[in-house]
Amino acid sequence: MGTTIETDAQLPGKPPALEISKVTKGFAHRRRGFQQVLGEVSFSVDEGEFISIIGPSGSGKSTLLKLIAGLESPDQGHVRLTDEQIAAPSRRLGVVFQQHVLLPWLTAKQNVLFALQAHGASRRSAAERESLAEHWLGLVQLSEAQDLKPGELSGGMQQRVGIARAFALESEVLLLDEPLGALDALTRHALQLQLLRLSEQQRRTFVLVTHDVDEALLLSDRILVLSHGPQARIQQDLRVPFRRPRDRTAIESSEDYLTLRRELLESLTAQP
């Protein structure tokens, strides 16, 4: 487990894991006309980096994530995944949705298995897929609940299945769209720690959309602040210098934490 403070010390010539360049996106509304949600947004994410995108609600955070996921296509600009331009959703990009999006007629395990076999050809045997699904459900402490249907699980458990499913896909990049936003404070707190542990053990590239400053500070190496929409832009790009593995209590009582937190909150509440 290495420190990620020096994530910009990349090998020369090595492309970033994810590159978003000059992306714009607007939607046509029946009454309000054309609304430019994102004005030119550019940033790149290095391999193994955990970045968070925060911004006021309605700033287009989720739109940005959908563009990266390939679920929407940008009006201008492009999204690149190392060497490949993203034009459609890809298994190289795993998504954890805002709502849990589990298929209600399948059990927790079947939901993970479905993700593993949905694209047809799989290099794994059925038994391998099964043990992979069980492995990931175990890592989010759901072994006991693997044969329950989503309707029988609490909100936190449902979202943990969603997280296990995204991790099980072994995508290079994981996109998390306010995954904990709909949960109560206590559950959210516990799941933040679980995500922290998983992300530090897994060394993948993460993009988290959140409106929770503390969540962003706990989990990320870098925080991008999106300005108030329409025509949202990245108005700040903050490096989070805490060492990994991180300890929540230690971080939250540090001087840097308070400074960063104040800076972020000021940035978020600043009027355009």
Binding site: A69, G70, L71, A88, P89, S90, R91, L93, G94, V95, F97, Q99, V101, L103, P104, W105, F114, A115, Q117, A118, H119, G120, K149, P150, G151, L169
Partner: protein, 273 residues
């Protein structure tokens, strides 16, 4: 008053029994007064004439049921054979309609372009009484059995189609986003995501279509059938067996109820949540 869980459970059970007894008593009372009013209203027709009396209808019911399995065509055909003929037509016509309408509905529900292209046709043909297809069926198919099935097909098709489209439209769009991010194959997307998610609409369509088909078959058989519940009604009417009408209504009603209850079992397939 005791309040142990056991006592509470016991009391709840007793209250439920009392409620059920009350409902059953009400039912008997209602049936008895209905028959009494019927009896009074048709007094004076006991020796025949064009009103069924309770007593004569009851006798006729026993007659029809006791000769239910008589099979000596063309003059003596038991009610069971009429019923079987009607059910067969309904099952065939309805089944073929389901085979066409469910896949078509899944397609039209997902493709806006194809839907908008075909929608005017659907909207014009949907309100047409299924019986209006009957002469066309006779002309094209030149066979009364095939025509009856065709009419049932037409009666069921639009209902299943429109409800399936509606069911697909109500599918949580995030399920489809999920399928896309997983790069699901078309077969997996349609059969393992779209169809189960659209099932409430599909089942509603099947259920409504089956009861409509059962309504329509009786009318259709009055015109084309050489056998069937509709034929039974029509031949008995021509023979002035007015008491048979009551028997026919009872048999048709009970069968319709059984059909509806059986297909309603499909609702069990729909997941909670």
């Amino acid at each position: 008053m005791t309040t142990t869980p056991r006592a509470l459970q016991h009391r709840a059970r007793r209250e439920r029994t009392v409620f059920q007894l009350k409902s059953a008593g009400g039912m008997v009372l209602f049936a008895a007064s209905f028959i009494a009013i019927w009896h009074v209203a048709t007094a004076g027709y006991e020796d025949g004439g064009l009103a069924p009396t309770p007593l004569a209808s009851g006798q006729r019911l026993i007659e029809v049921l006791s000769s239910a399995f008589v099979h000596n065509p063309p003059n003596e055909v038991g009610i069971v054979f009429h019923l079987a003929a009607s059910l067969q037509r309904v099952v065939l016509g309805f089944g073929m309609a389901a085979l066409v309408a469910i896949p078509l509905g899944l397609l039209l529900g997902t493709s806006r372009v194809i839907h908008d292209a075909l929608d005017p046709v659907i909207q014009v043909l949907r309100p047409v009484s299924p019986l209006a297809w009957l002469p066309l069926g006779l002309a094209l198919l030149r066979d009364s059995q095939a025509t009856a099935i065709f009419v049932i097909f037409m009666a069921s098709l639009w209902i299943i189609l429109v409800n399936t489209i509606d069911g697909v439209r109500r599918v949580n769009p995030l399920y489809l986003d999920l399928a896309r991010t997983l790069e699901a194959t078309t077969a997996n997307r349609v059969l393992r995501v779209l169809l189960p998610a659209a099932l409430p609409g599909v089942v509603t369509g099947l259920r409504t279509a089956l009861s409509t088909a059962w309504l329509v078959i009786v009318a259709a058989e009055m015109i084309v059938g050489d056998r069937g519940m509709g034929t039974f009604v029509w031949t008995e009417w021509n023979a002035m067996n007015i008491n048979s009408m009551v028997v026919a209504i009872l048999v048709i009603g009970v069968t319709g109820l059984v059909l509806d209850r059986s297909i309603a079992q499909l609702h069990r397939l729909i997941p909670a949540n």
